[in-house]
Amino acid sequence: MKVKNTPKEDAELFEAIKSGRHELIDELYVRHRSAFLTYAQRQLSATEDDAADCFQDAVIAFYKNIVSGRLTELTCGIRTYLFAIGKRMVYRKNQQRHREPPADPDAGIGLGNDPANELDMSLFDRFEDDHRKAMLATALGKMGDTCRQVLTLFYYHRYPIESIQNALGLSSPGATRIKKMRCLDKLKQIITPSK
């Protein structure tokens, strides 16, 4: 069995995620989690649970920015990106809880150079209507396992058809393309049954 190495350096880890190794999200989380939790509790008045929750969202947002092609190269360390996103999420959560918004400890330092400015934060804000959100989120769970995997790998993790074929052991790129088309049709039917 071929064992894939875990990249040590930021640039190497970034490239590995960009090339499709989405399992490395866990590595990102473990590597920077405790530092963020300490920072968020001490500097941003976050509870431990809120800090962890925000950091999870930060890791997912960072990943989505990589695979969507919005973040094509690192202009600073991965930790700096994750902290910048996580910090914004903590602010938002504090506001939602009507806590006293803490002063930004970094205010005025490197103003305009916040790496989170490069990123698309709307990826997390897109669905505000909770009912609709719940309906859409459960739709994928109604699909068969292979369909769910094909659609997720193609549309979310942005795998090319050939990589999906290899990952799922499908017979050819043509067969994978058809599988994807049919699964997408099924998902559309689940979301809008009248069609």
Partner: protein, 276 residues
Amino acid sequence: MDKDKRQDRIDDHLLGRDSREDRLELEEELARNADLRTELADTELAMAAIELGEDRALKARLQALESKLADTTPGTTAAPRVEAKVANLADRRRRTETRVVDMRRRRKGNLNLLGYAAALLLALAAGWWAFSAGGEINPGQLAMESFEPYDNIATGTVRGNDEQTLEAAAFADYDAGNYEAAAAKFKELPESGSNVNRFYLGQSLLAQRQYEEALTVFRPLMEASGFPLAKESAFYHAVAQLGSGDINVARSSLTRISESASHPLRAEAKALLAKM
């Protein structure tokens, strides 16, 4: 433009993979074509469902990881210990994955002798069969030996969907190995229906050894522009040629396939040629 190509364009657009020219062209077309607008909106909604579903899955994964880490060390100040624990867990997992499996044979007593006797009988039977067949090729038999109905990649399981269309019923019969019923249902579907359905009609016919009819189904499919299973259709067309007794034509079709490095059924073509 067929449905597949239109969907590819929409996907490229929504995933940001299209060029500036393609984007402008699509936007102009969207302004004119209401159907295209609907398809784009439906795909956007499906993508939203995928995004939300997978966001939740990733979140659940990280939450599970967090509870493991939090269980290991209460509080955040013991971070190095947490990371050490994770490293230990990873090491242990690696050791488990690379564990050496004991391959020593177990004693099976008389079972071995029975096995040798069965193998000898089989070898004798095969020798007798080869001798009595006189080495001649039976094309129909060879075609059937090499044929395995193509996996149903066209329909996925949809949980809680009780309504069954004729198409779904055809695929259900196909999955159950009831090829006669499947072929009858595929034939009832509109002729202008998808090439995918025609492909599975061809499969159902081959499975019933109806080679001549299978030839007429696969011929247009192997030439259909943009059809993702066109190459596969060419292989099954060759199998139908063989089954119908056209050995030389089948041989040259299979040779072409076996010489095409990118053909998905190249290995199958080579294996079949070797048997001929």
